[in-house]
């Protein structure tokens, strides 16, 4: 058998996955500036007016005046930044935002520092985000410090809308201190003043193009490469590609996993959560399948004499967004209206991203009360990995099913048991009972899709 070895497979699938990920990232969405979908959406909006993205900046009084105001340094002594009246779409909701002054002076000590930053609109009002490090040597020509790039990464949460850009450089106690403020570009398109015929003739084509780009699957250009790997594996291993590499415990890169899924309509087998022992918490992997699949538990240790009961919290494909700002300690949540939250209660998983790090929290819910716009529920938290706020229109809420699987006494290493029969896109939590000391400390499982 001259089957490809895992080292070459890794190099190949990484390269192919990277190639596909490049195309997927470029395709983007309406909320990601610079992407294909974002730009095609803007072409349509130029013709129609308005905004489609859930997040974006609009002129302050956009109903009467589509001109963005001017940000400025209002007071060169105390370095007060003036930000004019704006509006911001956050999660599809419009927030009017009155003009404001932000004091930079208190942010600086005697250090010679330079920052780029952004004034953003969040749920609680204007927020100033400054990059932690400074960009540009403060020892250079001070007059050129305003050339500092806006682009350096600044940790702006995805649920805040940048309003104005700020550059500050130098020692605020020194006359060479420089500060510049500039408004961000409006995301809101005013309605065109062109004739009806212009809209009539062109809107449908642009809208059709946008619809096509929203669902564009570019995996077809790489189909032959993926199929070659599949054919080779079947030919040399005598086993289907997915099955063979699953038995080898091989974990494909996310990029290749997405490529495979988009070509074949089903995911490769992926480890979704690990339970290192019955006495430890599971390892959160933040893995969601590209297409839901049925789950199974793999015993990755020897099994003791007792039956182990595994409670797997499978992430269903039904989801919604948190509707209003929620502090988890309140043990209540308001979600977007949906059809899957049950009056009799059930389980939810919350996923949020803070500073690019994903966090999950699992809860049972009950006491459902709903309106046309939202659903209120009482929570009973099961996990407490994350204690941050649930952010409206940003924090995802998933329907979770608690599925129980049993592992019989004396089960062999790598024994596999089904976890229910429903398809899930991930695992939010695992709890296990039944092991006896000392084997309970070493009995371990991995949950994966079949």
């Amino acid at each position: 058998m001259a089957l490809i070895d895992t080292s070459l497979l890794t190099l190949l699938e990484t390269a192919l996955g990277d190639a596909y990920q490049k195309l997927v990232t470029a395709q983007g969405d309406v909320n990601t500036p610079g992407t294909v979908v974002y730009n095609v959406n803007r072409a349509k909006l130029a013709l129609r007016g308005g905004i489609d993205a859930g997040y974006g900046l609009a002129p302050g009084e956009y109903i009467d005046d589509y001109t963005m105001g001017v940000a400025s340094i209002a007071d060169s002594t105390s370095w007060m930044v003036y930000v004019p009246t704006t509006s911001a779409y956050i999660g599809g909701q419009l927030y009017k935002n009155g003009s404001t002054l932000i004091n930079l002076d208190t942010l600086f000590g005697d250090d010679n520092r330079a920052y780029t930053g952004y004034v953003t609109r969040g749920y609680t009002g204007n927020i100033l985000h400054l990059s932690k490090r400074y960009y540009g040597s403060i020892y250079n020509d001070k007059t050129r410090n305003t050339d500092l790039p806006w682009e350096p990464p600044v940790s702006i949460p995805t649920y805040e809308v940048p309003i104005a850009k700020i550059v500050v450089a130098g020692n605020p106690k020194d006359s060479s201190f420089v500060a510049v403020a500039q408004m961000c570009e409006s995301d809101y398109f005013p309605p065109p003043t062109d004739a009806d015929e212009v809209i009539t003739d062109n809107f449908s084509a642009l809208n059709t193009l946008e619809d096509a780009e929203l669902v564009r699957n570019r995996s077809n250009v790489l189909t032959n490469a993926v199929n070659a790997l599949k054919t080779h594996t079947v030919s040399e291993a005598g086993t289907e590609f997915k099955t063979y590499w699953k038995t080898q415990g091989y974990q494909f890169t996310d990029g290749f996993g997405r490529l495979y899924s988009d070509i074949n309509g089903a995911d490769l087998s992926t480890d979704l959560m690990k339970l290192p022992s019955l006495t430890l918490s599971p390892t959160t992997m933040d893995k969601l399948l590209y297409r839901a699949g049925s789950l199974e538990a793999v015993l990755t240790s020897t099994q003791g004499a007792a039956t182990v009961s595994l409670s797997v919290f499978g992430v269903a494909t039904s989801s919604a967004k948190v509707y209003s700002l929620t502090l988890p300690d309140n043990h209540t949540v308001r979600t977007e209206s949906n059809t899957w939250m049950s009056a009799t209660g059930g389980y939810l998983a919350f996923r949020n991203v803070v500073n690019s790090a994903p966090y999950w929290r699992v809860a049972s819910y009950s006491s459902v009360a709903s309106t046309a716009d939202y659903i209120d529920a009482t929570l009973g938290f099961i996990t407490d990995e994350w204690s941050g706020n649930f952010i409206p229109y940003t924090t995802d809420v998933y329907k979770v099913d608690k599925v129980t699987a049993y592992v019989v006494p004396g089960a062999a290493l790598n024994s596999v048991v089904d976890v229910g029969t429903t398809n899930y896109q991930g695992v939010a939590h695992i709890a296990a009972t039944g092991g006896t000391y000392p084997l309970a400390n070493t009995t371990a499982f991995t949950i994966r899709n079949k």
Binding site: V36, N140, V198, D201
Partner: protein, 472 residues
């Protein structure tokens, strides 16, 4: 209420800019076999991992699978060691002997700058002449000037590579003819191996698999995908939208889309022109430049602007001319008449040889050519390179690879680096406007299609608006 039923230029600008940007984003992601990190680069890499060898004319020749190329820093402040490395320049292997470069010290060694953290690119450049083989290793800051270098004060985190090498602030001094060896974080502290990144280094050679069964099946599949990426016209996905826009203008104005906007003196973005060219297989009218009267020997327009599709070219008078005007225009020939320099070309006022990679036997025995690439103006230091297109006359009667060349008088002396300094065949045409030509007069230049305008001169005495060169 608007009276015109044709889309306004203001609205058109918004739409064509957005559509052009969308297309440019996609094409950038598809990339090319030589653009590190793009889809095509990665697919080609996958193919070479199976097949072995190299497809790229530029890059680092690695050994072993996976590639084990590395750069070892010395534990001496400011020094950076590049071991003996084989490189590809223009598809030819050249060995770079081990060398230590003053990576940190050469850029900023003195206080207070040495308290900063910043990034540098380390690259190799082929400066060989027919007499001497020379490859230099150079260092430039990661940003266009030291004013945007990232500094770090005590207690702050070490900046990431993405912070020190911001994508939108590439240094202008890394030559396009160079082979990038590494990115390095330096300053303030002695670099360690964790301060070296090869993620933008173009690895150009792979050992490949020695197993028949792997090459037999997997190679052809990946090769097919590479071919598919190379051949796919992504512009076709926009054809219907552009056809609708085209129909709208023609229906509402009675004039063809291209002609209507040419009449309006509307200038499309380059991104949209490329989209239109790919989606509609046609070129929109574009300006190449205006030739102005100029005291002295040269009244000239330069243009790096090429068409996406070969097109007819014309000269237009924005202003009436009371006197006769004579113009000489040098147009890029479309017949794939291009090669690259093989050695450094020292272009001076007199005639001298230039060395070409390929024999130009299909070119006319004598004529004109353009050198388009990275050069140093004579007398400037090695770090001051810039991009330039320069036109002159050639004679290949003695040799098709070592041709006699003389620049046109307007240019100053320059030294061009080899391999990526393109050499293109250009055709010279003389046209004349008679005395009393009215504003808007147009004259065709040549009788066939061209890829653009390389150079032009015009006689004295034309109107103050000059002569406009544009595609038809």
């Amino acid at each position: 209420m608007a009276t015109s039923k044709v889309i306004s230029s203001e609205l058109l600008t918004k739409i064509e800019t957005a559509l052009g940007s969308a297309y440019a984003t996609l094409l950038d992601a598809v990339g090319s076999q030589s653009a590190v990190g793009t889809a095509l680069y990665n697919v080609t890499k996958a193919k070479l991992l199976v097949r072995g060898g190299h497809d790229l004319d530029y890059g680092v020749k690695t050994t072993g699978t996976p590639p084990t190329y590395s750069i070892e820093p010395l534990g001496v402040t400011g020094n950076f060691y590049v071991p003996t490395t084989t490189l590809y320049f223009g598809g030819i292997e050249k060995v770079l002997a081990g060398v230590t470069v003053a990576a940190t010290g050469a850029v900023i060694a003195t206080p207070p700058y040495n308290s900063c953290r910043y990034g540098v690119y380390v690259y190799a450049l082929d400066c060989s002449t027919p007499d001497t083989e020379t490859i230099t290793v150079n260092v430039v800051p990661s940003t266009t000037s030291n004013l945007i270098m990232t500094a770090l004060v005590s207690g702050d985190d070490v900046p990431s590579f993405s912070e020190l090498f911001p994508a939108n602030y590439k240094p202008s001094t890394v030559p396009t003819t160079a082979v990038l060896l590494a990115k390095l974080r330096c300053g303030r502290e002695i670099p360690t191996t964790s301060d070296i990144s090869l993620d933008e280094t173009r690895l150009a050679f792979y050992e490949g698999s020695n197993t028949d069964e792997i090459v037999d099946v997997i190679f052809s599949g990946i090769n097919d995908s590479e071919d598919a990426l190379l051949a796919t016209n992504f512009g076709s996905q926009y054809t219907q939208t552009l056809t609708t826009l085209e129909s709208h203008v023609r229906t509402r104005s009675g004039v063809a889309f291209k002609d209507y906007w040419k009449q309006q003196n509307y200038r499309f973005t380059d991104n949209f022109r490329r989209l239109w060219s790919d989606a509609k297989n046609a070129e929109l009218s574009t300006d190449f430049g205006v030739v102005y009267p100029h005291a002295g020997s040269g009244n000239t327009t330069y243009s790096g602007r090429l068409c996406y599709k070969p097109t007819a070219i014309e000269a237009a008078l924005p202003d009436a001319s009371s006197t006769g005007i004579s113009m000489s225009a040098f147009l890029y020939n479309t017949a794939s008449y291009s090669t690259v320099l093989k050695y450094r070309a020292n272009v001076t006022e007199g005639t001298g040889p230039i060395y070409l990679k390929d024999a130009i036997t299909s070119w006319p025995t004598m004529g004109y050519l353009a050198i388009n690439g990275r050069c140093l103006e004579t007398g400037f230091s090695a770090g001051s390179g810039h991009e330039l297109m320069l036109v002159g006359s050639y004679d290949r009667s003695s040799s098709a690879t070592i041709v006699t060349f003389q620049r046109l008088p307007h240019y100053v002396n320059n030294v061009f680096d080899p391999w990526r300094s393109e050499v293109l065949c250009v055709d010279k045409y003389d046209v004349a406007f008679t005395a009393g030509s009215p504003s808007g007069s147009v004259m065709a230049i040549g009788s066939t299609n061209y890829n653009g305008v390389a150079y032009a001169t015009v006689s004295q005495g034309i109107g103050t608006l000059g002569v406009l060169l544009r595609s038809k």
